[in-house]
């Protein structure tokens, strides 16, 4: 991708956008906002992938993330105590340890990027990236492609078995009782 300065500016905008929206995900009380901040963060990463020349992968990342983040928003609103953040939420456990771990992980990941001098041999941008991906799928990694299909099938069946209550053999939780939350019940049994 030619363009020099403008490309750098856009890259830094995307990178800063990804970081800020990623940070906002954990600082906002509303679950829907958190999900859509995460979506903005993934879209920024998709933008960076497009800048790297992997147009297809970047756009497919953005495409896939839309559906998944909407489902995440719906499921988070369903299961979190404070769905819309009307009451301020404090969901942090041992946050000092967490902050230290976060900084440490960032340092470990960022160090090689800065210290190692990468060879400066930019190979030409692939003119038919998608076509090469297609040939790869149908050629050497055909096995990966088919096992991915079987993996997706098992995911679908597993999801239906776990999440759906009604089914061919009647209610899924027939004969099972919901575990009681109180501790003393457990000891008395």
């Amino acid at each position: 991708m030619s363009g020099g300065l403008l490309v750098d500016v856009i890259f830094w905008l995307f990178a800063a956008g990804a970081l800020v929206t990623g940070y906002r995900v954990f600082r906002t009380d509303s679950m829907v906002r958190a999900a859509f901040y995460l979506l903005a963060s993934f879209a920024a990463v998709g933008g960076i992938l497009v800048l790297l020349g992997a147009e297809f992968v970047g756009m497919v990342l953005i495409l896939m993330m839309a559906g998944e983040m909407l489902i995440m928003a719906i499921v988070m609103v369903m299961y979190m105590m404070n769905p819309a953040g009307l009451n301020p939420m404090w969901m942090v456990h041992q946050h000092r340890v967490a902050v230290a771990a976060g900084v440490l992980a960032f340092a470990v990941l960022a160090a090689p990027v800065l210290l190692v001098d990468f060879p400066d041999r930019p190979n030409p941008a692939p003119e038919e990236a998608t076509a090469q991906l297609g040939e790869e799928l149908l050629g050497d990694s055909m096995l990966v492609f088919q096992t991915a299909g079987v993996g997706l099938l098992s995911t679908m069946i597993g999801v239906v078995v776990l999440a759906s209550r009604r089914g061919r053999y009647g209610e899924a939780d027939e004969g099972s009782s919901e575990p009681s939350l109180e501790l003393q019940d457990a000891e008395s049994r």
Binding site: G134, A148, L152, M156, S164, G167
Partner: protein, 116 residues
Amino acid sequence: MLGPMGVTLAVFVGSLVVVLGLWMTGRDPRPRSAPESVPFIGGRPPAVHAWSRYHARYHVMALVFLAFDMEMVYMYPWAVVFVREGPIAMVEMGMFITILLLGILYAWREQVFEWA
């Protein structure tokens, strides 16, 4: 100078900014009183906030969608090289698609697509 993707980004950001500018024209001096901002469900005030743990009746279908959506990632490159690769591409994608359609058939029989 930035290529077609740059123009697409410019069009997206440009129209976003234009519409946000138009939205800002709707500013008004007078603050709204409490009765003027009651949500409308037919005239009576709502008893509770609408924001609640909304029971999306299609949550199992949504999860099946997550798995099935990955199939699109493989379909794009396949469609590009389909004519070049010839029948081998047809057979291979046929297997892949049949496997996934089995998942839909199973989900249909388990009434996943009806309201939970």
